[in-house]
């Protein structure tokens, strides 16, 4: 049995109009660790997370060489069997705390429901657990909150409720799709700290989807950088931040202002252009149009996968030492 809690291999997601949102990616999340999936909007991060839960909208076609959860193959599971996992061993929270709770039911009823569904027992027992978890995620007066409706809560509170609800059945994996994007910066920080605490306490593995490299630096044990449906670089967080190798990762990092490193008035980096939509028969590197290092080889064929260090992989025609070479050339 492998150590990884979740292993995804060769995942592909296409839509009816021919768009290929995810093009054969692999990633693994180990028990108790945070794996960040990072990239711009439209590069397939959310689709990947929904595909793992098999929650894709109708019209999306998912194929995979394998999706293993706790060593068990779950890619071929029926909706009914998948339903037994969802909300139980694997839970998910979303980007839109304002609309992710049902406006017609109380917080308590929505939280109790998932527990009764997977663990059975009385609603009263489930409500007790819900109150306990609301307290755990830092909500004061949980008893009162249970009786409230979502519209009576702020966005930050709703996201805490979503997190507490996700924890109802002690999941082993929490998939968090941009959980703090819609929140104020201060609330964002609180929610991230909460997720870290919960991870330590419960040994929760987190697959965190974000476009915010600040969050990645803060949360991630392992990082996968996604671009146009491919994981273009992945590795342990320290390794990847220390030696970013793919030009896209470089570009992303250059977009982040680092206090002390970037002088006032100096322009921030940016990557020209946008993520292309990938249709059928696309070939070559999807980043070539925006890449400062593009070469003729990028135009067609598969992009080779390379090692940049221990467990540090990237997909590019450039050798791992291309930045050093570039710097040497500039010096000479």
């Amino acid at each position: 049995m492998s150590a990884a809690l979740l292993e995804v291999e060769g995942l592909r997601v296409g839509f009816g109009n021919g768009t290929q949102a995810v093009r054969g990616i692999s990633l693994s999340v180990a028990r108790g660790e945070t794996h960040c999936l990072v990239g711009e909007s439209g590069c397939g991060k959310s689709v990947t997370s929904l595909a793992v839960m098999n929650l894709l909208a109708r019209g999306a076609v998912r194929t995979a060489e394998g999706i293993r959860f706790e060593g068990r193959e779950i890619a071929g599971l029926s909706e009914r069997e998948m339903g037994k996992l969802r909300g139980d061993a694997m839970a998910m929270i979303f980007q839109e705390p304002m609309t992710s709770l049902n406006p017609a039911y109380t917080v308590g009823s929505q939280m109790a429901e998932v527990y009764v569904r997977h663990r059975g027992g009385s609603k009263a027992a489930a409500l007790d657990r819900a109150a306990h978890l609301l307290g755990r995620v830092g909500i004061t007066a949980p008893g009162m909150r249970l009786a409230q409706y979502p519209h009576q809560l702020s966005g930050g509170l709703r996201q805490r409720v979503m997190i507490a609800m996700a924890l109802m059945c002690d999941p082993k994996l929490l998939i968090a799709d941009e959980p703090t994007t819609a929140l104020d910066v201060t609330v964002q920080a609180q929610i991230l700290r909460l997720l870290q605490e919960l991870q330590h306490e419960l040994g929760l593995a987190i697959l965190l989807i974000t476009h915010d490299l600040g969050i990645v630096a803060r949360m991630a044990h392992r990082v996968s950088v996604m671009y146009a449906g491919r994981v273009v670089e992945s590795g342990p967080a320290a390794e990847l931040f220390g030696r970013p190798t793919h030009p896209y990762t470089h570009g992303l990092l250059a977009c982040v202002p680092v206090p002390g490193k970037i002088a006032r008035g100096e322009p921030l980096g940016s990557i020209p252009g946008t993520v292309p939509k990938i249709g059928p028969g696309y070939s070559g590197c999807a980043f070539r149009e925006r890449c400062s290092q593009a070469m003729p080889a990028c135009g067609a064929g598969d992009v080779p996968g390379r090692e940049a260090g221990p467990e540090h992989r990237y997909e590019c025609h450039l050798g791992a030492d291309w930045t050093a070479r570039l710097a040497a050339e500039a010096a000479a």
Binding site: M53, L55, G87, D88, N102, A104, T106, H151
Partner: protein, 305 residues
């Protein structure tokens, strides 16, 4: 919640008062009522006697106040034609109208909502389009034609149901179906579009992420949010069924309130006309109020407004 109730109730009373005024004015706009009641052969003296007897000689405002205060105490005056209390006339016909309307609405709801849900769940498929096509055909079908067709097939040929009268419950089946047909398309479309929106919402994605059963997702989480416009339109449709079933009451020889009002118009029986208008308007007001209350029960956001 109390404020919500009080506001809705006040609104309902204002609407009723407005209807009282309008129905009072309209019947008096049709000409000199005393002459109409007395008939073509009456002498001038007869007309004056009738004018006095019915209080038509008094100032309009006095007549109006009398009519409102009497109506408030349940006294709607006497019918000129039947020489009977209007309250009695209406209450005698009420059971037929109510049974027919409720039968029609029940059939409509039990057909339209499941079909609407199925269409929404299979959005864009052949099944969805088939169901919606039937809805369009249903909407286009005139109720007298459908009524007569049903009478010919199920009444005369198969003899499953009586062709007229409501001596037994079977008598309500065919007219109930015809009434339901007029309401089904609207209810079905609303159910479908509400469910399509609800099923695409973030909270349904959450419900799926919680691993809930399909039944809980569709019937508990989606339908409750899709139900509000359906409830509102059901109330209006029931109002139509209670008031506008004259064609159906004629086809099936049912003597309900609508038929009474229609007859009274022909006979210039103005106490009956204005009372029937008042009654039907009140029915609409009460049904709307009920729909508001049901929606408040369905959606907590309405309660705290």
């Amino acid at each position: 919640m109390l404020i919500f109730l009080a506001r809705r109730a006040l609104l309902a009373m204002l609407v009723t008062l407005t209807v009282l005024t309008v129905s009072f004015m309209l019947t008096r706009l049709t000409g000199d009522l005393a002459i109409a009641i007395a008939g073509p052969q009456a002498s001038q003296a007869d007309v004056e006697i009738i004018r006095k007897a019915y209080g038509l000689d008094r100032p309009l405002l006095v007549q109006f106040v009398n009519w409102v205060t009497d109506a408030a105490t349940g006294d709607l005056g006497r019918s000129f034609f039947y020489q009977e209390d209007v309250t009695k006339l209406i209450s005698a016909r009420l059971p037929v109208t109510l049974t027919l309307g409720l039968t029609g609405l029940s059939i409509a709801i039990l057909t339209a909502i499941p079909l609407g849900i199925i269409a929404a769940m299979r959005e864009g498929t052949l099944l969805d389009r088939g169901i919606m096509t039937i809805a369009v055909i249903g909407q286009a079908m005139p109720s007298f034609w459908l009524g007569l067709t049903l009478v010919i097939i199920f009444g005369l040929k198969l003899q499953w149901f009586p062709i007229s009268g409501v001596e037994t419950w079977q008598g309500f089946v065919l007219p109930g179906i015809v009434l339901a047909f007029s309401a089904i398309p609207a209810l079905m479309r609303l159910t479908r579009s509400g469910m399509v929106d609800a099923l695409a919402s973030d909270y349904i994605r959450t419900a799926r992420a919680k691993g809930l059963s399909r039944a809980a997702i569709v019937l508990k989480h989606a339908l409750r949010n899709a139900a509000m416009p359906v409830v509102a339109i059901s109330a209006v449709q029931l109002g139509f069924m209670l008031s506008g079933s004259i064609v159906i009451e004629t086809v099936f020889s049912l003597h309900g309130v609508g038929y009474l009002g229609w007859e009274a118009i022909g006979k210039n029986d103005f106490p009956v006309v204005q009372s029937v208008v008042l009654f039907l308007a009140t029915v609409f007001v009460v049904l709307t109020l009920l729909a508001d209350l049901m929606n408040a029960a369905l959606d907590p956001r309405l309660r705290t407004q």
